[in-house]
Symmetry: C2
Subunit: 282 residues, 2 copies
């Protein structure tokens, strides 16, 4: 039996406050518990606020590259390796006029909470830092693990067999993400419940801290490293020796995009127009 | 408090067997319970077995189109709208030499179980059919809802506000997928526990059956409808009037691909070679 509990009673978290202490006011940790802490309260405790007017600058600093853009929706690769909209910059459950960035190093934040719980109570728990993210192909968002300390990120069945003797070779379960999604069902999005405690899965709690990096697909194995539109733009820029213009050109559409790309490769105007001038909607 | 329990004691499910009856042998349903049933046992009860030698033919019948391919790994859009590897054809926990297809209509399967539970016990539960799937950008797999009956697929916070009065406008939580991931943590992948019961979330159980189609992103809103490599191939085929050759050409790589595409558009050989001849690895 697994239980998930997201207690109320945690007050507003402010920069510099003792987050672990606040969580310990409402939670009694036991060996093998998994705490799933919403990234928002970690960011608040770490003072990761910015002014709303700095949003565009922050987005550039927090992003490695634009993965896809349509209209005002931009999917980026975050400096932490996460692929998501809006560079993780959040305005919900924050004072009007202020925005919140993701924690600087969520694995380090998770390790700190884990170590402080062990130090103050003796309990050996696992800690996940969760964030909410959309996905390719499916509607809606789910919570994912962006920080890991003492929880198995991926439960690999490679080398195990089923009762029929078949290899379970392709099965590597992203249990850290499933744990964050499960915790979200208890925490909900309305605020006031920034942590959930999951009991009954002590087998997933590890001695080593581990890392959320295990959950990120390496670039060379990523078939969806660029959106459909951006993959075509990128290929054209490679073929015409203009790769350094991607960041600028990915912001353009339609005739404006075609004109800007052909300006840098006038001899190739015909086929560039045929390729980029009639992009499908989807 | 949410609880998740995945009982043992369910025997091997065979074609034509009374799946609901088998589940009721080990479960006592209560109003508001959510049952998450692994698609594999639904497929077994529905007799969705094929012979291993029919794998390629089945893959074509079960797939709408190839979304991406690298080497022997093919991501397809399944006829149910799911985007995943191997067209949902499964060999684990199946007799050697046999393979299992996804249920014919998982929403109908979920509705049948829900109705039979109500009829035989009077309990009003929600039912999800789950399947395991990889994702873009992240390693590992998670369980997702491919069949829905009486469970909210998406919990929309559109129109609600947080305690600071900010709109929660971009928040639509894919709770059905989070429920399936949570259930997977209790069921595990080793077999023998094909159903999990989730209690404490009766607020997500609905009067209407609903549909898993709400979890599928419409094509026009999907930025990742094709893999990076396939997006470029598709654009070239559109620009040269060869879109009908996509299914054939997506199977080719390198010089062989360039030769096949230019054979259909010899005047465009120069730029096609520049575009397709030097594709990046990732």
């Amino acid at each position: 039996m697994i239980t998930i509990d997201a207690p109320t009673g945690i007050g507003e978290i402010t920069p510099g406050c003792d987050l672990t202490g606040e969580l310990l006011r409402v939670l009694v940790p036991h060996d093998g518990d998994i705490w799933v802490v919403t990234s928002k309260v970690v960011s608040k405790a770490e003072g990761r606020f910015i002014d709303e007017t700095d949003k565009d600058r922050a987005r550039r600093i927090e992003s490695r590259r634009v993965v896809a853009r349509r209209g005002g929706t931009t999917i980026v690769e975050h400096r932490l390796g996460l692929v998501h909209a809006a560079a993780g910059i959040d305005s919900s459950n924050v004072e009007p006029g202020r925005l919140l960035l993701l924690p600087l190093d969520p694995d380090a934040s998770a390790r700190r909470i884990r170590a402080e719980v062990a130090e103050r109570t003796g309990a050996r728990i696992g800690v996940l830092i969760s964030d909410t993210s959309g996905r390719a192909w499916r509607t809606g968002q789910t919570d994912l693990a962006i920080g890991v300390a003492g929880v198995l990120p991926i439960d690999s069945h490679i080398g195990r067999t089923d009762p029929h003797g078949n290899d379970l070779r392709v099965t590597e379960i992203a249990v850290a993400d499933e744990l964050c999604g499960a915790a979200d069902l208890a925490k909900t999005k309305l605020g006031g419940r920034p942590v959930a405690v999951i009991r009954g899965l002590a087998k997933l709690v590890t001695v080593d801290d581990g890392s959320s990096a295990d959950l990120l697909r390496p670039a060379a194995q990523d078939f969806f490293r660029l959106g459909r539109r951006e993959a075509v733009l990128d290929a054209v820029l490679r073929a015409t020796g203009q790769t350094d213009r991607y960041d600028e050109l990915v912001e353009l559409d339609g005739d404006e995009l075609v004109a800007a790309v052909t300006a840098g490769a006038p001899d190739d105007a015909d086929w560039i127009t045929r390729l980029l001038g009639h992009a499908p909607v989807g």
